[in-house]
């Protein structure tokens, strides 16, 4: 009834005049940290920086494309509840940069349905056509060659944040060789039933948001980063909008 009264008042008076134009939203710049649990980097992960030297990681986030808590949490999954809060700052060693920026990303021979693999590391994280590459159905992976070993602090991935969707079997691995045979370490795995065959994952599924997913890399040293996914609650295809690998070159 409040709305009805408001409408009647609107029609009765000079309320049709449009208020001043609101300022357009600006891209948010925010420091972030992990809300993830169960990160499974190996126990011998090197720690070359003292924790108290660390500084907040600066991230340039895209415009939020949807706002609010998604309602349709799929039944029978491990999807974590959306807190509605921004990620707290994530601290990294000084000198940490995005080592993957502009580097070519490989897709293991998968032909994109739309876009190009280079969109994965081009810095454009917006949820709009032209910002993402989409691969076909089933388990797909993308690999980034950092060119040299890096000491990795965090990996961020935006699959697609234009609608509230959950990607399945998200696995993030690092290795010393492009074929992922030598010194393979799994940093994140939410494949609870081992559909991907990469081991049972204990991490949670999650709704994609404009903040992306931050995976604590625990300062692991590696040259190759591989990300897997297996369709989403939206459809069976696999989108990648952006991947960032934050770390420092190993001298």
């Amino acid at each position: 009834m409040k709305a009805l009264l408001a409408l009647l008042l609107l029609l009765a008076g000079p309320g049709f005049a449009a208020p001043a134009k609101a300022k357009p939203a600006k891209p948010t710049v925010s420091a972030t940290t992990t809300g993830d649990r169960g990160v499974s980097a190996s126990a011998e992960t090197p720690r070359s920086s003292a924790a108290d030297d660390r500084v907040p990681l600066d991230l340039k986030l895209p415009k939020p494309a949807f706002i609010g808590t998604p309602r349709n949490v799929p039944a029978g999954t491990t999807v974590e509840k959306v807190s509605g809060k921004l990620r707290p700052p994530f601290r990294v060693p000084p000198g940490t940069v995005n080592l993957a920026a502009g580097l070519p990303a490989g897709a293991g021979g998968s032909e994109p349905l739309v876009g190009e693999a280079k969109l994965i590391t081009d810095g454009d994280k917006e949820a709009t056509d032209g910002s993402y590459v989409e691969f076909g159905r089933g388990l797909k992976s993308v690999t980034i060659d950092l060119g040299a070993n890096g000491e990795l602090a965090a990996i961020l991935v935006w699959h697609y944040h234009g609608d509230p969707r959950v990607y399945h079997d998200v696995v993030v691995q690092v290795a010393d060789d492009p074929d992922f045979i030598t010194n393979v370490r799994t940093l994140y795995n939410n494949d609870a039933d081992n559909t991907a065959g990469l081991g049972v994952g204990r991490d949670r599924e999650y709704f994609e948001t404009y903040e992306g997913r931050l995976i604590d890399a625990k300062l692991v040293k590696a040259r190759y980063v591989k990300l897997w996914s297996n369709g989403s609650t939206a459809d069976e295809m696999n989108r990648y909008t952006e991947v960032e690998v934050y770390g420092r070159p190993v001298k």
Binding site: R71, L113, G130, N230, M237
Partner: protein, 452 residues
């Protein structure tokens, strides 16, 4: 956790596809009666089961077109063969998705060439509102059944011409008000009009509040040149990508979103409204031709007495989301396409149904609400086959049941749940709401306006 099942069984034709579809469509056409919205069993003699693939083309490979593709591509006996879109980025994207599912599709810039060359049985149309009539009428006259997204058209005249073309050609024209095939909505409608759980309905309310929409861009290097844009009626890539903001191309928020929910009211009340008073404008994004708020007050007059209704669509806040409420002397019903929103509230003095004893309950704003679970809120046995099937259908992608209804109607197995002749009333309701905004005064809606 794996995604959806991947296996797809290809139907084996038992008779020639064209022969079967020609006879089945005739059988189906006889089932479509004025004012009839429920799916009907096939008439005697109508073929049963899949006797041949339905060869389908897509006109419009944008996000809504791709949503329809993904929902339809696994329906048994449906074979996509062609895609038409004026923008190669979209046509290639849609064709690649079809290829991924084993449906190699020819790509066309001009839908007219597709209709002439692709030998189709049906098309799905998911293009801007202003070309729906042109494309639908051309397809119908080419002998092709049509599933066209709402809003039917952005003028009443165009919508009426679409209904007329369907009648003249005898081809099916389904409009994309997918709630009409949604098992949860169909169950709710049967409770309201079958069991009469609301008693006399007195008021309805609905809303679709969403965040401020972002401007749609396009990939570098994918621009159509000025000549191509002009040939297809667009002044710029920005207009093509953000067509919903322009009066030439779209029907405004009441057509984009409100139409779905006004259709629910028209469907449940079984009559169109008799008046509308509305306000609208562009407070938040005044640079848009279509506004970011529309609020309407309606009156319906079913035989049980007047029904007063209020509806709002806001493109500046997502508060409260989207849902419809019907209120009556016996109770109220709240439902949304969001499957978590479906509740029945019985008035204390109203008749108690036997199924209430077994139904799930939740507390909603201090009231005892019965959850509208299909298997629990019905006269039939809780685990009846019908209930189990309906619950399974309710878990499909939102558009799939409506597409299944379209393809089953082509086969003559059912009637369309949203034939253009009925969707026309909703198009008039939405488009006349825009007229009421412009007039700033109540508009009487004569019954003749709703006659196609």
């Amino acid at each position: 956790m794996s995604a959806m099942p991947r296996a797809r069984k290809k139907a084996q034709p038992a008779v020639s596809r064209r022969d079967f579809l020609a006879s089945a469509a005739l059988a189906g056409a006889s089932l479509i009666l004025p004012g009839r919205t429920r799916a009907a069993p096939a008439s005697a003699g109508a073929a049963k089961g899949s006797a041949g693939d339905i060869k389908v083309g897509l006109i419009g490979g944008g996000s809504q077109g791709r949503t329809l593709l993904v929902a339809a591509v696994k329906i048994p006996g449906v074979k996509f063969a062609a895609v038409a879109d004026i923008w190669p980025y979209h046509s290639r994207y849609a064709a690649n998705i079809l290829k991924e599912y084993g449906h190699p599709a020819a790509v066309y810039e001009d839908y007219r060439e597709m209709l002439a060359k692709a030998s189709l049985d049906a098309v799905l149309i998911a293009t801007p509102d202003w070309v729906h009539a042109e494309q639908t009428i051309a397809a119908l006259r080419a002998g092709v059944h049509v599933y066209c997204e709402k809003e039917m058209a952005n003028t009443v005249g165009d919508a009426r011409a679409m209904v007329k073309a369907a009648a003249e050609t005898g081809k099916l024209l389904q409009i994309g008000h997918q709630r009409r095939s949604n098992p949860r909505y169909r169950h709710a409608e049967s409770l309201v009009n079958g069991e009469g759980v609301l008693g006399r309905i007195t008021h309805v309310y609905g809303q679709w509040n969403r965040p401020k929409p972002l401007e749609q861009g396009w990939p570098k290097g994918s621009d159509l040149d000025a000549a191509a844009l002009a040939r297809w009626g667009y002044g710029s890539m920005e207009q093509l990508r953000n067509w919903r903001w322009y009066r030439k191309y779209a029907s405004g928020p009441i057509g984009d979103l409100g139409s779905h929910q006004l259709d629910v009211f028209n469907w449940f009340l079984r009559v169109p409204p008799v008046s509308v008073l509305a306000a609208g404008g562009a407070d938040v994004q005044p640079e848009h031709e279509w506004g970011d708020y529309t609020m309407g007050i309606y009156e319906w007059r079913p035989p049980t007495g007047p029904v007063r209704g209020y509806y709002q669509v806001l493109s500046s806040t997502s508060h409260g989301g989207y849902y419809e409420v019907l209120m009556g002397e016996g109770g109220s019903l709240e439902i949304s396409e969001d499957p978590k929103v479906g509740f029945f509230y019985r008035e204390p003095q109203a008749q108690r149904r036997q199924w209430e004893d077994e139904a799930s309950r939740v507390s909603k704003m201090g009231r005892d609400a019965i959850e509208l679970k299909i298997g629990e809120t019905r006269k039939e046995a809780k685990r009846s086959r019908r209930a189990i099937e309906a619950e399974a259908d309710a878990r499909k992608p939102l558009h799939q049941p409506h597409l299944e209804n379209f393809f089953d109607a082509i086969r003559g197995k059912v009637a369309l749940t949203c034939p253009a002749s009925e969707a026309f009333a909703t198009a008039v309701t939405a488009l006349r709401t825009n007229d009421a905004v412009a007039a700033s005064t109540p508009l009487a809606l004569a019954p003749a306006e709703f006659v196609p």
